[in-house]
Symmetry: C2
């Protein structure tokens, strides 16, 4: 059976003509020579290219009109890998791994060239055999989405899934998640499951497990060690802490930001240090770490009538009119410096306040406190009804606003929730 | 003559009743006791508070209804400070200092309590006497605005002012500027004055010169030393490089970002090191520093029909319809990770492309390259006509788009300009 998954039109003709199929290792001559696995294509792709996965792990699109020569180096390997169920040791604690998709949950299937979730217990065991010595891990696939496609409705499903297992046999839960929007999901879970008694670790990887520099295995092993040993509750993002393979950071779910597109240590705790560092031989707790002790009363609602407005010179203040007339109920501003926006905006800010919108101020500096009493600009905005949001990072403030709005009857209630420190979103 | 600048209604009555005026040093008892200078108030302020500038440099608003006791510690000092014109040494190079406002150009006038630009040559000499040993400095006030109020039309005026002095006796020019939007102005000047043969230093301060921790003097002295000694052209942001007073960084105008709301070393070069470091005894040049050698042909136009769209889960894709129908000609996306936005946006992205808008992708990670060929999401967006913008930081990409649009006849021309490395905006 031939596999031309996703190819259409000219590119499909091209594959048929050369008797190629997805998963073949091919060598291609254009201006340069390339060798790699012929990859499948997707819905929005054109019919002018074929895609190869190079040995470096990167994919490359090659225009078929520019291909001078193409040949098979080795054909599709139809031999199934033997996968063994992990050994269950009844003395070890149980962990649940819930997959939502992303690089960490993917591996290149060398039989088909496709990306598939590698998440049955047997597959996980085959990929990271070390795990079975730390815990007995059950696996469950919730979605299989790149995280840029996850929406607040997915946050809700993830939170509900976790909530059903809070009083179960599991010592903790791993959420395998794409790194693109991991910080948004972490914030959403931190608020909606505030006070959760067991630890939840969002784990991703910046480089897929078929690449030599992959961080997938270390992040997973560290997350399982953390869940088993940490003896605390809460929502954490567990990712590489340095460029070496030495340690892995457990970041507060509300204070973490992806600050680099590709580095393995892209995630950073803003306005402080990570809650825990998982080292080779021990787990170090941040001495400033004090979980806010809330009762666990899950509130799993989000209302997306919240707009994030990043201020910049030249921003048309009429955007606020559009936001008001579109039915939004709250605006989170990413102001400049200590929490400012240009005075061209004031009239429109006043209008939004009059219409009853919640107006919160964060800083596009990302780090540091908003302080709106230092300069006239800040004081003017306070007088117009702007609420300063301390050192809450903008993305967390946005998610918190969606959550606060989803769990309030009035804007006054929402404002009260926004000012409360619920899940370490204010760090001083 | 009494001075109640900006006070009105109840707060004005309060001042009159207690025989107080702006500039008095007063002690106030509420729940605590405060001592400071009575400050003027501004247009949008209410009539329920008075404002004191404390010795710490911070201003505090005190509700008049909660004031138990208020008294004058010392009255308005009407004695004028004696200011001496700086000594002019004809052997020293000439520097022009153009002020646009901001903390660096302000000092508290202890006669009136007001914030005034301290920028006559005599005043500068009184504040930073060291300057007259390095250069003869002429001063000029262009605006007196907090930088959050500066708009693209101000960028134009600043660029034109600089351009009139390029072939003059000045070795270099300092632009005193608020720190809030300094990076936007620096990018605007970098593009519009690309190839400028003399050095331009944007200088600000994070803490005003009446505060003990002020960075104003060191930043100014370092900027003047840099302009006199650097022997190169271009646009730089010159600000503290560390929390100590040891060194000052000269950042590329297109690669600099304000990454902390209040630290003196808030500014950082993204994707590399600063171009120069001004140390106590020498100026160190970054060995990777290679100014792009463009001819100097100033192009001082900006078209603000550019929208910056930061993607987040829950963003209503219909915002793109609003942008299209409002007559925008370009959108700079702040995508997630390597340059992605959720697939809920695709239909609308396609519409925007069909309408002929320029669509450029940057990353909200701030650091690292956009790479849109690694995942399907990126490749889908490339197929829809999205242009990846390498490691250009989002704010620089926005400013460049306004400039490219202002200097292009067609969107095709603009796209060509956006892909060119004009002022180090692409660093690899």
């Amino acid at each position: 059976m031939s596999n031309h998954s996703g190819y259409k039109g000219k590119s499909l003709e091209f594959l048929e003509k050369h008797n190629l199929q997805v998963g073949n290792i091919v060598s291609v001559e254009t201006d340069s020579t390339y060798s790699g696995i012929l990859m499948p294509r997707y819905e929005y792709n054109d019919d002018k290219h074929i895609v190869l996965k190079l040995k470096s792990g990167y994919n490359i699109g090659l225009e078929i009109d520019k291909i001078k020569k193409i040949g098979i180096e080795s054909s599709v390997n139809t031999k199934k890998e033997t996968m063994v169920q992990p050994h269950v040791d009844p003395k070890l604690p149980k962990i649940l791994l819930v997959s939502t998709g992303g690089t960490i949950a993917s591996k290149i299937d060398y039989r088909t060239g496709g990306v598939t979730p590698a998440l049955t217990a047997a597959e996980l065991n085959a990929t990271v055999p070390e795990l079975s010595k730390i815990a007995n891990i059950d696996t469950e696939v919730l979605f299989s989405e790149y995280s840029e496609n996850l929406l607040p409705e997915h946050w809700k499903i993830i939170a509900e899934k976790i909530n059903t297992h809070v009083k179960s046999e599991y010592r903790g839960i791993i959420i395998a998640h794409g790194t693109d929007t991991m910080q948004y999901t972490a914030a959403a879970l931190s608020f909606s499951l505030s006070g959760i008694p067991i630890p939840i670790a969002l784990v991703g990887s910046q480089r897929s497990s078929d690449r030599p520099s992959s961080d997938a295995a270390l992040n997973l092993i560290s997350a399982v060690r953390f869940l088993v040993e940490c003896n605390t509750g809460g929502i954490y993002v567990v990712m590489h802490n340095s460029t070496s393979d030495d340690d892995v950071a457990c970041h507060w779910g509300t204070r973490v930001r992806k600050n680099h597109t590709s580095k393995r240590n892209a995630f950073q705790t803003m306005g402080g240090s990570p809650a825990f560092i998982v080292k080779k031989d021990k787990i170090e707790k941040n001495p400033q770490f004090n979980v806010i002790k809330n009762d666990y009363i899950p509130k799993i609602n989000f209302d997306t009538h919240v707009a994030l407005v990043k201020y910049y010179p030249g921003l048309d203040p009429k955007i606020l009119d559009h936001i008001i007339s579109s039915g939004y109920k709250a605006i989170i501003f990413e102001g400049t410096g200590l929490g400012h926006i240009g005075k061209v905006m004031y009239e429109y800010v006043g209008k939004a306040k009059k219409k009853g919108l919640f107006l919160g101020m964060t800083s596009q500096c990302i780090d540091g406190m908003v302080r709106m009493t230092v300069y006239e600009s800040g004081r003017d905005l306070l007088n117009l009804g702007m609420i300063p949001l301390g050192n809450m990072i903008p993305e967390t403030a946005l998610v918190k606003a969606m959550w606060a709005l989803g769990n309030s009857k009035t804007i006054e209630d929402m404002e009260k929730i926004m000012k409360e420190n619920i899940a370490m979103e204010f760090s001083d």
